[in-house]
């Protein structure tokens, strides 16, 4: 089986290194041009089980704004992001909410939690 080289752009940090990955079928033989170890790990992950941090919003009642920003507690499996977004469209929370509060635990059974990206205090009706 011939080895093949492909380029993967690392998205771990803003540097965005273009990694050169040599692999034989599913086996990664080497990762070159990575600026740090995180790049090597990223290439392995990306070619076997690509994941992304997902940030979106859910409805909130009684807060300063109608939306609460939320994010995944860890990178989330890329093929299931659409499904996750669908699930979050049905979520509504009530203010107050604290930063990092779990909004949806164990999303889609992945073990990854959806957490609040900010605190939002309750807003009392205008006096």
């Amino acid at each position: 089986m011939p080895t093949q080289m492909e380029k993967v752009i690392c998205v771990t940090c803003p540097k965005g290194c273009t990694l050169e990955v040599t692999r034989e079928a599913e086996t990664i033989l080497k990762v070159e041009k990575a600026g740090c170890n995180r790049g090597t790990r990223y290439a392995q992950q990306e070619l076997t089980d690509p994941r992304r941090m997902v940030a979106t919003s859910v409805r909130i009642r009684g807060g300063l704004h109608p939306l609460l920003p939320v994010h995944t507690s860890a990178p989330f499996p890329k093929p299931r992001i659409r499904e996750l977004l669908e699930a979050l469209r049905r979520v509504e929370v009530q203010a107050p909410v604290e930063l990092n509060q779990v909004i949806l635990p164990d999303a889609l059974g992945t073990g990854i939690d959806i957490r609040a990206s900010r605190s939002m205090a309750p807003v009392h009706s205008a006096d």
């Binding site: 771990t12 965005g16 941090m53 919003s57 939306l67």
Partner: protein, 426 residues
């Protein structure tokens, strides 16, 4: 004069630059530190940047924008920074007298011993890129759309074209796709991406959104609402190439065509503005041309990472507090001019005091004119003499380069004249 409220340091704006400046002024020993913010809550534009990726470079943490802001908001309250929210500053004088208005406080006059300008930047609009056609609904800046979608809960359209490959544009392309819209195309007039490569990957490639370089919008079609845009390829001189026109049906056009430091207040105060950055001329303590008036963050020059904005704010706030405490503008020794040399569009700070190296590194930041997709040297020179250099794997106009100047260079710098920074192929 005597009726005005007195403060040691007044910071204008509570984005990352302003928050960092206020915190560090307080920690450096300034007594009364006040932030004036026009929004109803502190945090600035970070509050609408709900995506991840903040804090990776400097703080080694990957946070969403609001979480990054909250870390500093909480700290500001803890250290005793005062806030005046929902308040618009109308004027700042050279003598650091500030007038502002708000529903809660009415018309207020304040006197500050030092001011830190941290108003951030604004987006370039349709008028600034001279986009012809009718003025239908459906043409917005990417940041306005970001505020609606992420904070206020409105979708500005269903089918989008985005002009400009800046980070906000690419991030909005992903965000709109997440919210069920179709992004037909991202057009970039330059032959290269203007935002970060990782945003091209995780925002555009991941979501099958097409990017066309060397393309722009020639006109907008539709009278009451956008119905389509006419895209066209451009040549090296930015002229339209006949025969390449394409009608792209859409209901919304987002503009991500650059940011401009917001310096109306700075100009009123007599602060000298660099025509290239659009922000104040600053020394390495971020003091402007007006003694006692400092500035930090995107109001000085547009950064691509918030981490550096925070760092700049910390420096400006510390300098402002030192001025208040000691009466010395953080610097006393002579200042050397720092100029943009070969393939450098601009460099900040504009002057550098070698004496300040006694406090640690001075961070010189710059942008290149032309991309160099091969290893480069970033060089600090005095005349023909090379004082210091740093290697980078490549140089791109969209990615700011940082050159730390180390304390061990102090003696050499003291003997130097005008300094230049150049970026050359290795």
């Amino acid at each position: 004069m005597s009726d005005a409220k007195q403060y040691d340091v007044v910071v204008i704006g509570s984005g990352p630059g302003g928050l960092a400046a206020a915190i560090s002024a307080k920690k450096t020993g300034a007594d009364r530190v006040l932030i004036i913010e026009r929004d109803v809550e502190p945090g600035g534009i970070l509050l609408q940047c709900i995506h991840n990726g903040f804090g990776v470079e400097v703080f080694k943490q990957d946070l969403p924008g609001p979480a990054y802001a909250q870390r500093f908001i909480d700290e500001a309250f803890q250290v005793g920074v005062e806030f005046m929210l929902d308040t618009m500053v109308l004027e700042i004088t050279r003598e650091r007298r500030i007038t502002a208005v708000s529903r809660k406080h009415g018309f207020v006059e304040l006197q500050a011993r030092a001011v830190v300008l941290a108003m951030g930047c604004r987006e370039r609009t349709r008028a600034q890129i001279r986009l012809p056609g009718h003025r239908p609904a459906g043409v917005y800046t990417a940041g306005t759309a970001q505020r609606w979608v992420n904070v206020e809960g409105y979708m500005p359209g269903k089918r989008f074209v985005i002009l400009g490959s800046g980070d906000i544009g690419m991030i909005m392309a992903r965000r709109l796709t997440y919210e069920g819209a179709k992004v037909e195309r991202v057009l970039e007039v330059m032959p290269y991406l203007s935002g970060l490569t990782r945003n091209y990957v995780q925002c555009l490639l991941d979501n099958d959104i097409e990017l066309q370089l060397r393309h722009t919008v020639r006109r907008i079609l539709g009278k009451n609402r956008v119905e389509a845009v006419e895209a066209v390829a451009v040549d090296e001189q930015m002229n339209y190439i006949p025969g390449t026109e394409e009608i792209i049906p859409c209901d919304t056009l987002l503009l991500s065509v650059g940011l401009i430091p917001e310096n109306e207040l700075s100009r009123q105060a007599g602060v000298a503005i660099d025509p290239i950055t659009g922000g104040p001329f600053v020394d390495d303590s971020f003091q402007t041309s007006v003694p006692g008036i400092f500035s930090a963050g995107n109001v000085v020059h547009v950064y691509d990472l918030v981490d550096w904005v925070t760092e700049a704010g910390l420096t400006a706030g510390k300098s402002a507090a030192r001025l208040v405490r000691s009466g010395l503008a953080a610097g006393d020794g002579p200042a050397l001019p720092l100029k943009a040399g070969e393939n450098v569009r601009y460099v900040v700070p504009h002057t550098l005091r070698p004496d300040h190296l006694a406090d640690g590194d001075i961070r010189v930041q710059l942008r290149v004119r032309q991309p160099l997709e091969r290893p480069v040297w970033v060089e600090l020179r005095s005349g023909d003499k090379l004082l210091h250099r740093k290697g980078e794997p490549y140089a791109r106009p969209g990615e700011m380069i940082t050159l730390p100047v180390r304390p061990n260079l102090m003696d050499e710098l003291k003997a130097a004249g005008e300094l230049t920074v150049a970026v050359v192929a290795r």
